[in-house]
Amino acid sequence: MAVYDQGYRVYRGALTAAQWRFMVLAKYALQDVIKSRRTLVTLVLSIVAPLIAAVMIYIHHNAEALAILRLPIEELVPIDGRFFLFILKAQFAAAFFLFLGAGTKLISVDLRDNALPLYLGRPLSQAEYLLGKLTVLLVLGSAVTWVPMGLLFGLQGILEGFSWVMANLRLGLGIFAGSWVVLLLYGLVALAISAALRAKAAAEASFVGIFILGALFGQVMNETLDTEKGVLFNVFTLIDSVVRALMGITPSKEVGPLAAALALGTLGAVAVVVLRRRVRAYEVVE
């Protein structure tokens, strides 16, 4: 129908595949998120650590560069599991700030504008709506975690040889799996906060609070109650323990990987419950 033919007509053409419909939501949300200057700045800054790491890996394998810089190879930081863990943690920090800015508003904008009945009144389930929103964060988070880390791992593998790759396969898989653990956790918590709090400032403060104030609370709990259980409130320590176990490097002394995984799983489950309760097509008057 041309624009001038102003009449209503039923659509009888082909439809897109239903199982990928959530990607429409992800596409539009991603377009919106990357318009933000703050997101772009965070993405640019997130390249710094991998770039430095890439240079370090390159220097390690370039005798000419070492000679020019007059650096004895034994004085360089070794390219091993701890090196990759250090860079990965820097990338987790980048993902944290990315999710802080982008994730905490993804659902609240729809709640503020009462758009949920429009989304859920279409052939789109609550789970698909959440998956669409989460996909935005997973795409952005992947771009700053396992993708650059995978490139670094590949660079080291190319320069060191295939035998190094095979010998460190668990390290590579641990980087990948650990990244997904963190991205899913950060993503679910960011979305849950976004669904629970409509004011952006309050949502961002809560996101910081769960991760940073949680750690402080755990510290105070340890000091005052003379216990070590407070570490279960320190999400960063819990993540460290799980990621170390996945990468197969020296385990954390503060908390075991199983306890850490359970605590992180509990946090993720709470986030899912909040999302299930808050993301509805109608408001519930209690």
Binding site: G7, Y8, G13, A14, L15, Y28, L118, P123
Partner: protein, 334 residues
């Protein structure tokens, strides 16, 4: 992701829409069979049974009558606690996905994405309903022109006036070309010209005959202007149902009579002739004459009973009358 599939949404084997989804069909578009909905101790819908097949169906009732609960149930937002509801042949509890692909919904409250332009917003809604991106864009432009927002389609919706937001909500409900359009209080907050524009659009969709319309409203005049079938809800139950179109077409004679003296006995006597009689106020009666009875028969009975007929006019029930009568019914059901 861009791969296209056949028109039928979802993969329910053997599930096909009913004939009601086809233009010009007289098959029921909405069928409710003992539908009940309960929220804790609150019975929102109580054994609602009705079959609706009008081109434009009005859903009336006072606040808290269950209109929005019914609309939400038809959209699959609530799972019925008992009974069954089908829309266009789809079971709302089991085939919600297929159903929602065929339905356009305009909620009562403001609902949009304020940071998006009109065309971006309507296109998004089209794509979410399964339209390919290019088709969604084309139809978004068409629908925005159709509802009168052509010139404002590149403005952010947050900058729209209340009336423009209502029209944007209508555009998003139409963009995917649904076969049933559910409008919840479509004229809410509109000025007289905006209200008329909205009613004209609804009428034009109705008259084109490609889609059915369900209007939930408390504005009787709006419903009367565009609907050909009306259901009145009260306390979660259907207390009145009228096929306005059939009544408009029928030859039944509606009389309003004002009498003095012996009203009750007069009413009983004319009811004995086969008339339908409703007592209205202290002196008035509303009477429907069967074909075999004429007005002179009424005058004769009045003379015999020494009842004064002070006024007698031909008048069919307005929707307001139907509504007020329905509100007097306690726990009525059809």
């Amino acid at each position: 992701m861009e791969s296209l599939e056949s028109r039928s949404e979802g993969a329910t084997a053997g599930a096909e829409p009913s004939a009601a989804s086809e233009p010009g069909s007289s098959a029921p578009v909405i069928e409710l069979d003992g539908l009940s909905l309960r929220f804790g101790k609150v019975q929102a819908l109580d054994q609602v049974s009705v079959a609706l097949s009008g081109r434009a169906i009005g859903l009336l009732g006072p606040n808290g009558a269950g209109k929005t609960s019914l609309v939400h149930t038809l959209l699959g937002f609530h799972r019925p606690s008992a009974g069954r509801a089908t829309v266009l042949g789809w079971d709302v509890a089991r085939q919600g996905r297929e159903l929602k692909a065929q339905v356009g919904y305009m909620p009562e409250r403001d609902a949009f994405v304020s940071e998006m332009t009109g065309v971006h917003f309507v296109r998004l809604m089209g794509e979410l309903s399964g339209l390919p991106p290019q088709v969604a864009l084309e139809r978004a432009h068409e629908m925005l022109f159709y509802v009168g927002l052509g010139e404002a389609r590149y403005r952010k919706i947050g900058t729209y006036s209340l009336g423009m937001k209502q029209m944007a909500k209508l555009a998003q409900a139409l963009v995917h070309g649904p076969r049933l359009i559910i409008l919840d209080e479509p004229t809410n907050g509109l000025d007289p010209s905006g209200r008329q524009r909205m009613l004209d659009l609804i009428t034009s969709i109705r008259d084109r005959g490609e889609a059915r319309i369900l209007i939930s409203s408390h504005l009787l005049r709006d419903v009367e202007a565009v609907c050909d079938e009306v259901v009145v809800l009260k306390a979660g139950r259907v207390v009145a149902y009228r096929d306005l179109e059939a009544e408009r077409r029928s030859n039944r004679s509606f009389l309003e009579i004002e009498v003095r003296g012996g009203r009750s006995s007069f009413a009983e006597a004319i009811a004995g002739l086969g008339c339908e009689v409703a007592v209205h106020g202290k002196r008035r009666l509303k009477v429907v004459l069967p074909e075999a009875v004429s007005v002179s028969d009424l005058y004769r009975i009045a003379r015999d009973q020494e009842t004064q007929v002070r006024r007698l006019i031909y008048k069919r029930d307005s929707l307001e009358d139907i509504f007020l009568q329905a509100m007097e019914v306690d726990h009525g059901s059809l």
